[in-house]
Homo-oligomer: 433 residues x 2
């Protein structure tokens, strides 16, 4: 018997209980022993739970789970940094096999927890932390064990992708699309972590940990959310042959573990219409990985929701249970070798850019904008002025640039934004190369 | 030291040698021992090989590899059923860990070899057999261990996908596109296995083995290639909002291992333009999996070529080497439980259909066609007649049907094809639901 303690029993925890029950005989044959959830830590014992849960196993006392020497596996699906961090630290020290879906905790203390698990000789599995049911963690860890990763880019926040999809396909405003997402249960009452990019940044750190062996605990990731994207930006992007997506991007130009700074960033981006990520719509997630030998590889699927994440969590439980039974606990964590890596300043990153200027249509304005850009080495590839404004009514002027350094772009946009011929601050969106 | 014997040294074998050399220190750290290719079996010792190969290790004598008791792992990348089957049988019996990329061998004898490996307690890994560098085997085996698969559909033959893509995007004929594919090295001089669907059928059997635990050694899979698809079919598909792709499709309606017949088939299909598989172009491969709890999940990447397949083969070598070192050889094969499953007759399969009739434009012809269909319960959803023919010059009449049983469709098409108002046999393409 594999005895499991479950920390947290929200939607994902409920899905784990249901899935373990529904596939019990299949999983037992696979592991070589039945998997039993013996203890479930919750805050509110009276809350309604999935029918498959034996309520006698509920407890509000962490000690009843963490102090239970008979447990083999601790599954953490409570989320948040504290008290999850302390609970997992204690469980690792007690030699338990660990499964967590907590991306925030892993982004801030993942390196610390992994090193601790490694020393203690236990597994720490976290497929559920990124991309819901998409097995990207496993693919980075095992399948690409024989290759090195040059870059990855992903749509890793379903809420933001849903909002951008509705804006683009149906012309909704950001606010209307967000309200709809909340009504459908895709967005929290406080949507900040989703739409401002924080959640995507957490997931990016977890992905980079595996893709590049980068220990990035608590690293500051340049992060921009989707609030600034307007319907008109979708329309212009379309005209240029792109769609606007919210991406998490990681690149290792150094070429090898420990070498040089990593490029890590989260922001909206123009994605060419025929690129695989352009067709990932609604709440779907996708991660595009570029292996040096493998070339491009895309994984996509449901990025959130109780069952997809539960599928990943239970797959991890199966893995760590088999490892425990086979006497090879800790092997998967030993395979992850981490080295601290710096994050490249955004100012140093090179990209192509989309600019939208809201300008008063006065003589010489275009010359002044292109002049301000040219002076700083920002070279224009395409330019569109939509309709005509006047000296008092601003008009949109939109440009795509050639490859340019971010610092030059920022300097130029600051100068232009401070001038009296623009009606509001310029809008900038990076273009995915 | 992990001592490897390599059977075959063509493009994939060369890629394996290069990858093991390029990532030697990384792989050594991961496995806990260096991996060394000690013996390489080839037919022609004088042929040019990758520079990384120590030619002193080449042999033309199978005995020098199979009889070498010091080897830990046998990697088979020679392809074909014989003598590969005998070599692997012998290597399994000698307790070697096995890695193969041989889809034809697995499709015909995979169940037999897996059962043999299971009994002998060795691993038999075959990520390289399907989808080149796409880790679909591993995902079906491990990541979805906690879920059951309802269906999968895949673009698994890069040559056919390249030809269909060129026909659709650039209006080439089948013959011209095939010639180009051969010139670029994407298609063999004898392209039959690719364009007639045999290769895709082999891969489908391997996928179904893992997705449904189905032992299908040598099963007859209803298989249709792409030779019958004409440029005009791409144009009509486009008009209806579809693209024509060559697919391998598997469905388990029985719901569970061992229950009922599996639907397995390989044929061209109309795929809705906004479906993920519609955007997989050129030599790319993709597999769309529908998990009962997970929902849809797509994996795509380079399906063929030396390096992508070598990435998969070397990832397998790493896995079986770690298992060997850890004393848990055979665990991965034990996890695959196979039961014989019947393949549902194509006549019983239900689908929507695309028909193209080349008819003489005589009074009452359309009524006779729709009548012949209606009599057999085939109901039409859309109908297009392109231009006007005459009593002597045929014109294309194209239809999409509602969901219908294949047997009814075949009966109707036979009747219509035998009539004197059609200029040639009707063209039928199934529609992916």
């Amino acid at each position: 018997m594999i005895r499991v303690g479950l920390l947290g029993c929200g939607t994902v925890g409920g899905g784990v209980i249901q899935l373990l029950r529904a596939n019990a005989s299949y999983l037992e044959a696979r592991v070589g022993a039945p998997i039993d959830i013996v203890r479930v830590l919750v805050r509110d014992p009276d809350k309604e739970r999935v029918a498959e849960l034996d309520r006698a196993r509920l407890t509000t006392d962490p000690e009843a789970v963490l102090g239970d020497a008979s447990l083999d596996v601790i599954v953490e699906v409570m989320g948040g940094v504290d008290p999850a961090r302390g609970y997992l630290t204690r469980a690792i020290d007690a030699g338990k096999q660990i499964v967590t879906a907590n991306k925030m905790l892993l982004a801030i203390h993942g390196g610390e927890l992994l090193e601790r698990a490694k020393k203690r000789g236990v597994d720490l599995a976290f497929e559920g932390a990124v991309g819901g049911g998409i097995p990207v963690i496993r693919v980075l860890r095992d399948a690409l064990a024989s290759d090195t990763i040059a870059s990855l880019s992903g749509i890793v926040n379903g809420t933001s992708n849903y909002i951008l999809t509705r804006m683009r396909q149906d012309g909704l405003s950001f606010e209307a699309a967000l309200k709809e997402a909340q009504a459908k249960g895709y967005a929290e009452a406080d949507p900040g972590l989703d739409v401002d990019g924080g959640d995507a940044a957490h997931k990016l750190v977890v992905l980079a940990m595996l893709a590049f062996g980068a220990r990035l605990d608590g690293a500051q990731i340049p992060t921009e959310g989707i609030r600034g994207v307007e319907p008109v930006d979708h329309a212009f992007a379309e005209r240029f042959g792109y769609v606007v997506k919210h991406l998490a991007v990681a690149k290792d130009k150094g070429g090898g573990a420990g070498a040089g700074a990593l490029e890590l960033r989260v922001h909206p981006a123009l994605v060419a219409k025929d690129a695989p990520l352009a067709n990932i719509n609604g709440v779907l997630n996708a991660i595009a990985v570029e292996g040096r030998a493998l070339g491009p590889c895309l994984l996509s699927g449901r990025g959130a929701g109780d069952m997809p994440t539960a599928v990943s969590v239970v797959a991890d439980v199966v893995d760590v249970a088999i490892a425990k039974k086979s006497g090879v606990s800790g092997q998967s964590t030993r395979a992850i070798r981490l080295a601290s890596r710096a994050v490249a300043p955004l100012a140093d990153v090179e990209s192509r850019y989309y600019f939208r200027f809201s300008v008063y249509d006065r003589p010489g304005v275009l010359a002044r904008i292109t002049g301000a850009l040219g002076e700083r080495g920002v070279s224009i590839e395409q330019l569109v002025q939509q309709g005509r404004g006047s000296e008092d009514v601003p008009v949109d002027v939109v440009m795509l640039t050639h490859e340019t350094k971010e610092s030059a772009v920022q300097a130029a946009l600051n100068a232009i934004g401070a001038s009296d011929y623009v009606a509001k601050p310029p809008r900038m969106i990076r273009v995915l190369s």
